[in-house]
Point group: C3
Chain length 151, copies 3
């Protein structure tokens, strides 16, 4: 089963993210693919905007992070025309959070668990950073950045 077939099985449709500024959604350099920070935009609408620890629950943040990862994969698929033979090297999860919120990793797992499901226990799990930011573009609750390697 290809990654695209697995996505279809999960009823996930890959979007074609547009840049919201002067940047590319994803660029390739040698064997590396750098994906720009992705917001949880779904069908043109931001999923679960706001702040963790305030109006957005950890479960809602998890769902938002999953959409961010789908958008990251959409950007990669637009760039490469395929999602095969890729390895997750590093990701960063930016969580818009109150100053006393503590569950950032549980939010970012929404992106990481999808990547692990798709690319496997070895190639789907990379290094990661998760932390709480003061605010995100458009009032988003989560932003997700990804570095992949062609293998």
């Amino acid at each position: 089963m290809t990654i695209i077939e697995r996505l279809q099985e999960l009823n996930i449709e890959l979007p074609n993210p547009k840049a919201g500024g002067v940047y590319s959604p994803a660029v390739q350099s040698g064997k590396y693919i750098y994906v720009s920070g992705q917001l949880p935009v779904q069908s043109g609408k931001l999923l679960n905007p706001g702040k963790l620890g305030d109006n957005v629950s950890t479960e809602e943040g998890y769902a938002a992070a999953r959409i961010c990862a789908i958008n990251a994969l959409g950007a990669v698929n637009t760039l490469l025309g395929s999602l095969e033979n890729l390895r997750v090297i590093k990701s960063v999860g930016y969580v818009s959070a109150t100053t006393d919120y503590k569950e950032h990793p549980a939010v970012v797992n929404g992106a990481s668990e999808l990547l692990k499901d798709l690319f496997g226990d070895i190639n789907g799990v990379g290094a990661r950073v998760a932390f709480g930011v003061a605010s995100l573009p458009a009032g988003s609750s989560v932003e997700f950045e990804l570095l992949l390697e062609k293998i």
Copy 2:
């Protein structure tokens, strides 16, 4: 026209940034040049300090981000002795912002549009992340990090 000549045309003088801690302004590893987070220091003074959404307007943040990019290029020029044959791979824009600020990409465009002007539509536009931080060194409103590739 070289990048240096284009900078002169724009009346931009390249600085020679000093590190404000135990780090190098820029390091080369293989074909990659990693540039440390740059503040909008101009002639020894921090431009437009404070916070977006509070005392710093989006236009003032844009101007600060542009100075950050100039300082990043100064660090690269000091390291390599040239700004030719470079490609923008990834940048990160750190915007000191209130918890409800939403225009981070418009601020970071101040850095990205200069890079695009200098390096062109292909090599001057890479992946990017922009987000709001709680605070920055010295009370800066913007910090900018850059990853370049020698081509």
Copy 3:
């Protein structure tokens, strides 16, 4: 003297960090080693939790950043079985801070000075970013991310 011997001389015991989510503490890609964001966990306890500019002093943050760096080295040693022939390329210091805190670089120096001591003035000093975040996992005051190159 090997790095491990120098660590013993400094009475530093290398831990074997566990991931607090769906990620690897460190991964290798070609000659690069990407280390996940490390918290200042020491003997299972978070050192100096809280916020810089509030309940955590710059000196306490410095001590926390040093433990983060030790944990990063523990993750690398677990992955590679050695700490020899490594170069610091880039690090990121995430400082949980109030909105008016300004001394982030002095905090992150706690990690950077240890790396410089261990790997030397050339190979131990890379590019760096330091900034203030709204909150960190588990209420940590500091998080530290590291990119190394095998030389």
